[in-house]
Amino acid sequence: EETVKVGVLHSLSGTMAISETSLRDILLFTFDEINAAGGVLGKKIEPVVVDGASDWPTFAEKAEQLLAQDKVSATFGCWTSVSRKFVLPVYEKYNGLLFYPVQYEGEELSPNIFYTAEAVGQQAIPAVDYLLEEGYKKFYLIGTDYVYPQTTNLVLFEYLQSKGIKVENIGGGLRKDASGEVISAGKYTPFSHSDYQQIVAEIKAFTASGDACVINTINGDSNVSFFKEIAASGITADDCPIVSFSLSEDEFRSLPTKDLVGHLGCWTYFMSLDTPANKKFVKNFNKWLKTAPAGVQKEGRVTCSPMVLSYNGVYLWKAAVEKAGTFEPEAVIKALESGISFDGPGGTVTSQKNHHLTKNVYIGETLEDGQFEILESYDNVYGEPFLKGTF
């Protein structure tokens, strides 16, 4: 039987395994689903799974191996921006095709990558709009010290000012270059930072006079320490909501959700979306888990935006391949650029010429069971990677 090889390039070990393993799982599910329905152009998808091991040179090496040795037609992978930056030249060199599913800072456009991910305009901006509407006047910015939070916060810094928020009401600190221009806004901690006592004390002081909220771009396991400290300090969602951009249902599995009740999230998909498409998707995934291969965790699983964007990526690729009539990346990219739609679990997504997707954006409030209650939605938001300097 004829097959078509696709690559799965995620970290299954190391620090990023916490997040990325779920994406491997959903991809395997998607391939099985497509294969059961007859495959793509009559060929079954044969995934080649490699472990990027949370190590960026390894990502580059494995990407090259997928392209040079396995000759995969497309790759689905990467979580961190740095891993994407490391594999980008490889995809350009071999003229391959990579689907990237995780919210990111933008400011990039490779002809060989499709960003199914949320751009800043599809997450941070709508979330801030919502908070402004709710009447919040003070914004504390905190994040992990790397490019996604830094860039996002810089964009938000400009955006908030354009909305009339005074600089002194943007918390977390500013850094200026020699010419006095702000080059970084917000408070930053390194990856895996675990001691938030000091920062939470600062936030508490910041919120003392009310009407304050926190924009959280902390990534990874630091969130646990952060929210435990927040909860212990007595800051509640009613006093000061925290809106997080890197916490989805999947991360909630390891967080004390009781402490997070009422805090906010913003994504282009929530598991709690009450649509037939989503219901079916969740049901099928759960069914698949029962027969999933060894290594896939079977209990207590949820779905979340990065997973769904991975899922969408595969279906968009399938549609594009079918439209192009070939697996050749170049033709597939052309097809995608022409605008292909897919009715995914989070609503319809449409590929854009600029390699991003138009999709619905939702604001949600955390519930104690680790789900979001949807408070607001914005339909068909255009994916724009270059926002900095536009406000």
């Binding site: 001691d195 004390a201 009310g210 646990v224 400290e229 007595g234």
Partner: protein, 523 residues
């Protein structure tokens, strides 16, 4: 009265959002403490609507695993909670919650808990609404607790910042807020100062500046004490992690690269025990609250037994080749990490905080959470336990002799291999205790231990390898320096500076605080 309240609440819970505002008016008139109780339950998902029939829907409240009807507290049997089509969880909308919050805050002004009174007063003051100002002014008359009175006064004055009758009153309020060192008032005063600057009211500007200065200087003091307290808490985390290392590494000379994984064993043990308790007693039961206290000794034993086995099966062969133990433990660490992933999933798992550890303790503006206080106490306990073991028991004496000279110890009749196994097991047990403690302040996952390892190694060397008292002092020192640097340099630069300070410290004391004295040539 409560019946009336319940009735209103039931209507509110079932009302559509457009009807709700009218009902909340009713509710605020009632002012019954039960409202607060119910609103909390409502917010945290313990309230359900139930369709008794096509036309009749009632509200149920889940109280310790049982459904009770809101209107009359009758127990209502629900056979299959999961799949009952008539049952659905309801929750207040964000908007409604905000409204309810002010209602409950007003109620809280009469709460028996002084802390609740204080918080409510400040909230209401910050809202700067005249209705609440009146409520506050009437309450302050009857308030007996001096501390609470001050807070009420603060709240009133904050409210007056917007509602003062004339400039004189306003100035008075500002000055008073300065005296009270009211941080919540700071933004408001700044606002007034800005306006005054624009309108050229120099006196007002000066009064504001004075008040802000007072507030800031009080805040500085709080910060300094806060740093000290937080430093101790940071230090005790390092210490707990370091103690296991001080045993396996400081005493036994085994560079145990898998120490972090033994910490994770502690974390995962808590997780497993928590789940067992949840299965056996249900998460709402009183017995469930005991899961954590049960898990602590179990984690020690589990890691100890695993450590014992590993020593017997592996490290035993490596004492003559201590450097090789690095490679072996590295391999072990890789294996254990992946086994955690395969067993518990790659994602971190969640260990709950027992109710007694929820919340914080505040003295003079310096707050420390109960979990942190627990960790400090736990660190003291671990030090004591280790110290007692090493200095007061036969085993302790044997451990120290074996670690100094294996051959000689055995020539004197000390059962060396048993002592080795027990020591290693003890070190692993301590690591797991650290993991159990960390589960309360951080995450539990395959790599949870790694975060602390580098810092803990520093604690061990700054203290003097093999010196427990030194480890204690250095942990506190490092923690405190770290917390004092953070406000000025931020968490990252603060940490970097701590490392360089340590390097410089070792310049001065290359063997740590308490170096091992020896005249021997080869150390």
């Amino acid at each position: 009265q409560e019946d009336a309240t319940r009735d209103v609440l039931e209507r509110l819970a079932l009302a559509s959002s457009s009807e709700q505002s009218a009902i909340t008016e009713e509710l605020s008139a009632l002012g019954d403490p039960y409202i607060k109780d119910f609103v909390d339950a409502w917010r945290t998902g313990e309230v359900f609507s139930y369709d008794v029939s096509e036309s009749e829907t009632i509200v149920l409240r889940k109280v310790s695993e049982k459904f009770r009807r809101l209107s009359n507290d009758e127990i209502f049997e629900i056979a299959d909670e999961e799949n009952d089509e008539n049952l659905s969880k309801i929750r207040p909308s964000r908007k409604l919650r905000k409204v309810l919050k002010t209602i409950t805050d007003t109620i809280d002004l009469s709460s028996p808990d002084p802390r609740a009174r204080i918080e409510a007063a400040l909230k209401l003051g910050l809202s700067q609404k005249t209705d609440y100002l009146e409520a506050l002014q009437s309450k302050i008359e009857t308030e007996e607790n001096e501390k609470v009175r001050l807070k009420f006064e603060e709240a009133i004055n904050i409210s007056l910042l917007a509602n003062a009758e004339d400039d004189e009153a306003l100035k008075h309020s500002i000055a008073r807020l300065g005296e009270l060192a009211s941080l919540p008032a700071r933004d408001g005063i700044i606002g007034i100062q800005n306006e005054a600057t624009e309108s050229g009211d120099a006196e007002m500007v000066a009064i504001c500046a004075e008040a802000i200065k007072d507030i800031d200087s009080a805040q500085k003091t709080i910060e300094r004490w806060g740093n000290l307290v937080r430093g101790m808490s940071t230090g005790s985390v390092l210490l707990i992690v370091a103690f296991g290392l001080a045993i396996t590494f400081g005493l036994m000379g085994i560079i145990n690269m898998a120490h972090g994984e033994f910490i994770a064993i502690g974390g995962y043990t808590c997780y497993v025990v928590q789940n067992l308790f949840a299965d056996a007693f249900g998460t709402q039961s009183a017995a469930y609250q005991w899961f954590y206290w049960t898990a602590i000794p179990i984690s020690f034993v589990v890691a100890g037994v695993i450590g014992y086995g590993l020593e017997k099966g592996m490290f035993r062969f490596l004492y003559k080749r201590p450097l090789e133990s690095l490679l072996a433990t590295w391999g072990l660490s890789m294996i254990m990490q992946q086994l955690f992933r395969l067993n518990f999933g790659a994602a971190n798992v969640q260990v709950n905080t027992p109710d007694v550890l929820i919340g914080n303790f505040e003295v003079a503006g310096v707050a420390l959470s109960y979990t942190r206080i627990f960790v400090i106490g736990f660190a003291v306990f671990v030090i004591l336990m280790t110290w007692l073991l090493l200095s007061k028991t036969n085993l302790g004496l044997y451990i120290r002799s074996v670690m100094q000279n294996r051959n000689m110890a055995s020539s004197l009749g000390i059962p060396v291999s048993k002592v080795n196994s027990l020591t290693f097991a003890f070190g692993c047990g301590l690591a797991a205790l650290a993991g159990a403690a960390l589960s309360q302040i951080g995450n539990v996952g395959p790599t949870m231990g790694q975060t602390y390892i580098v810092d803990s190694f520093m604690v061990v060397v700054v203290g003097g390898v093999g010196n427990l008292l030194g480890a204690g002092l250095s942990a506190m020192g490092i923690g405190t320096v770290d917390q004092f640097l953070q406000p000025y340099w931020g968490p990252v630069m603060g940490k970097i500076i701590v490392y360089f300070v340590i390097i410089l410290f070792l310049q001065w004391k290359p063997g740590g605080l308490f170096p091992t004295k020896s005249r021997s040539m080869d150390d």
